[in-house]
């Protein structure tokens, strides 16, 4: 087992640069999730680690080996594809053993390894079936089994759960987490779903437009986002933002009549800012005023109240339990100023 290091990794398609000189260290045995919106380069980056995309410049090392120019099969990686990419003409056992077979591993050794992987993933009764005769979840497991059999240094998952229905997705998420515990191998996982990222990752890498926005443990990103993008991307429902500005060291937010006093040093020159607060850190004050309650989504355990500010901006407030609020009420909001963030509108960077 070994870690993965990217140094100044760059990818260009012709003149178009999609990955802009990334540096990243993934420790041995770490579960690292690349997350970001579509087109942010997360899949490309993983495929570069796999060797399916050529690296234009920079260096990728796995363990102590420089793999930047190696063939995919020589890198010691195995990958679970979004479409599973099972060989349709082979049964489950053949699918799982194919990599070893291509590498000249003796037959009985292949059989033993396939049996072991089948045991871990509870695939034993399916070994003779063709992929066509399997359900989505089973195919997914076979695809994972195929990587386990290979015994790679690094596991790669390319949005593996996106083709499954919601319920199965939760199950498989737990299974993948369990698997990581069992195997203790380095895993890289690509997703656009921040819930998957939060629940699975030891380390999240938030990407946007081919650049790393922030790297850190899930809760660190949640508690301490570096910029507006990360703040808005991590957490569900997303963080609320209200426009405001700072003039002469004075914070003013049009939607909030009494500007809160935040425990941070405000810049002295005039700056446009975004005020950010998470839905779960807001409270509704039924006695207050200024916000119109547009809609309440009651999920049982939590309720999401959608508010319209006088400025037309929208806010979501997450309340525990069944809310007794009703639509079209006029309410106020309260929050702990320590939980609020300020971001520079222009640069998106957080003001600390």
């Amino acid at each position: 087992m070994s870690g993965v290091t990217l140094s100044n990794v760059t990818k260009k398609y012709g003149q178009v640069q999609v990955i802009h000189g990334l540096d990243l260290q993934i420790e041995d045995g770490e579960f690292c999730v690349f997350v970001g919106p579509s087109g942010c380069g997360k899949s490309t980056l993983m495929r570069m680690v796999a060797g399916l995309e050529e690296t234009t410049a920079g260096q990728i090392t796995i363990g102590a080996r420089d793999v930047t120019r190696l063939d995919p099969s020589q890198r010691g990686v195995a990958m679970v594809f979004q479409t599973y990419a099972l060989y349709p003409h082979m049964n489950v056992a053949e699918n799982m053993g194919f990599g070893l077979r291509m590498n000249g591993v003796p037959k009985d050794e292949i059989t033993a390894k396939v049996a072991e992987a089948a045991r871990i993933l509870k695939l034993e009764p399916l070994l003779d079936r063709k992929p066509k005769a399997l359900s989505g979840g089973q195919r997914q497991r076979v695809a994972i089994g195929r990587t386990i059999v290979r015994g790679p240094e690094v596991f790669l998952f390319d949005e593996p759960l996106s083709n499954l229905d919601a319920e199965l997705r939760v199950d498989m998420r737990v299974e993948i987490a369990t698997l990581h515990k069992q195997l203790g191998a380095t895993m890289i996982y690509v997703t656009h779903d921040q819930v998957e990222a939060m629940t699975l990752a030891d380390k999240i890498v938030v990407l946007r437009d081919g650049r790393i926005e922030q790297v850190g443990a899930p809760l660190d990103l949640y508690r301490d986002p570096d910029n507006r993008f990360v703040a808005g991307f991590i957490g569900s429902p997303a963080m609320n933002f209200l426009a405001g500005h700072i003039t002469d060291g004075q914070l003013s937010i049009p939607a909030l009549p009494d500007a809160p006093t935040l425990p941070l040093r405000l810049p002295t020159d005039r700056t446009k800012i975004d005020f950010g607060i998470r839905p779960e850190h807001l409270r509704i004050d039924p006695a207050g005023a200024g916000f119109r309650l547009h809609l309440v989504e009651k999920l049982g355990g939590t309720s999401y109240a959608h508010l319209h500010a006088p400025t037309g901006e929208r806010l979501i407030v997450a309340e525990d339990g069944e809310s007794d609020l009703s639509d079209d009420m006029d309410v106020g909001i309260t929050f702990d100023p320590k939980r609020a963030f300020l971001f520079d509108t222009k640069s998106g960077m957080r003001l600390r």
Binding site: A50, G51, L52, D71, P72, S73, V77, A78, M79, F81, T83, A85, L86, Y87, P88, H89, M90, F98, G99, M102, N103, K130, K132, R146, R150
Partner: protein, 365 residues
């Protein structure tokens, strides 16, 4: 549209279907079904083309005599090793299909089809004239043999060439698109043009092949009149001619294979030739079946290449079934006998059509 209004205009689905099918049914019946049964009917008569043309009563019902005259002979016997090479291949084929089925490498239908073909290969060449016997028609079976040889060479030739071409030209570069068009272009030529081109190619004086041979210091082969080469020449021209459709079918088949599989293959150390063998080929199985059966049906009807390039010669080595039928009917005016041969050809092609139908419906187990 309100319902009562629709009712007045609407035909029932059945009526609409009938009306739409009618033009096709009429043409199909008039030009295919009727002539077919008429052909079968003629094959049961002693029917001289000229005589019947002048006097419709100048035909006589002879039952299956035409078939006997064409396919049978005096004192025909059967021996297990009358034609050892073919019959041993037949025996091995039966054994192979049985073993393949037992080991699960071939589906049931495939195994049965293969076994039947092998059985025929074992049984049919076993018939031969015994002591003092002879075939009534000495040219028929050798002609059938030539046709089968032609099909046996042309079909694998077309299939393999087309598949390799398709694999090589499957891509989005401009050069590949141009080459695809070029290779397909030969398909649109008529047989007359194709044979003309290849007659020039094969010409021992100014032909390209002769020039190349001479350049290499050899003496040019007289392709079209040398007994060992005439069939090869026809087959080569045919492969060049009918490559296009097969290539297009293979390209369609190749594009059906998900790119992910090749990426998974790349991670599994299956690239290049290995990827072709382990990923491309198994996923093209259906396309290969379609191409092979279509080509078999098509090439059993070979006529123009033999008629125009070699005139069936030298020494009847390129005489093929359709050409023989044509000569029997329109040169010898023996319409009855020619029809009997045509029915024989129909049975062969019908068998392959049924095979294609069955294989097409067979599900991947």
């Amino acid at each position: 549209m309100p319902q009562h209004q629709a009712k007045r205009l609407a035909l029932s689905q059945r009526q609409a279907a009938l009306i739409l099918l009618l033009p096709f049914m009429v043409v199909y019946g008039l030009f295919l079904v009727y002539p077919f049964f008429n052909g079968v009917w003629i094959s049961l008569h002693d029917w001289n083309l000229m005589a019947v043309a002048f006097n419709p009563d100048a035909k006589a019902f002879v039952g299956l005599q035409n078939y006997e005259r064409v396919m049978w002979g005096r004192n025909i016997t059967w021996g297990a090793f009358a034609s050892p090479a073919l019959q041993v291949i037949g025996l091995l084929g039966m054994l192979a299909s049985f073993l393949l089925y037992r080991s699960g490498r071939a589906g049931r239908v495939t195994a049965i089809a293969m076994g039947l073909a092998a059985l025929l290969l074992f049984v049919l060449p076993g018939f031969h004239p015994g002591e003092g016997g002879r075939w009534y028609d000495r040219r028929f079976w050798p002609t059938v043999g030539n046709t089968i040889l032609f099909v046996g060479l042309a079909v694998p030739g077309v299939t393999i060439t087309a598949m390799l071409l398709a694999a090589a030209l499957n891509g989005e570069t401009r050069a590949k698109a141009v080459l695809r068009t070029l290779f397909f272009l030969s398909q649109v030529l008529s047989v007359t043009v194709v044979t003309l081109i290849w007659q020039i190619m094969f010409s021992p004086r100014q032909g390209l092949l002769a020039n190349v041979t001479e350049l290499l210091g050899g003496s040019p082969i007289v392709w079209l009149t040398a007994e060992g080469f005439a069939m090869a020449a026809i087959v080569i021209a045919t492969i060049w001619w009918s490559l296009g459709i097969a290539m297009i079918l293979f390209l369609a088949g190749l594009q059906d294979i998900s790119q992910d599989l090749y990426e998974a293959g790349a991670l599994d150390n299956a690239t290049g030739a290995k990827a072709f063998w382990y990923i491309t080929l198994p996923n093209l199985k259906r396309t290969i079946t379609v191409v092979v059966v279509l080509q078999i049906i098509l090439h059993f009807q070979v006529f123009g290449q033999s008629h125009l390039m070699t005139n069936g010669g030298p020494n009847d080595t390129t005489q093929v079934l359709v050409r023989y039928i044509y000569q029997t009917a329109f040169r010898d005016s023996e319409l009855g006998r020619a029809s009997a041969m045509a029915v024989f050809l129909f049975v062969i092609m019908g068998a392959f059509s049924i095979l294609q139908f069955v294989l097409g419906r067979e599900k991947d187990e």
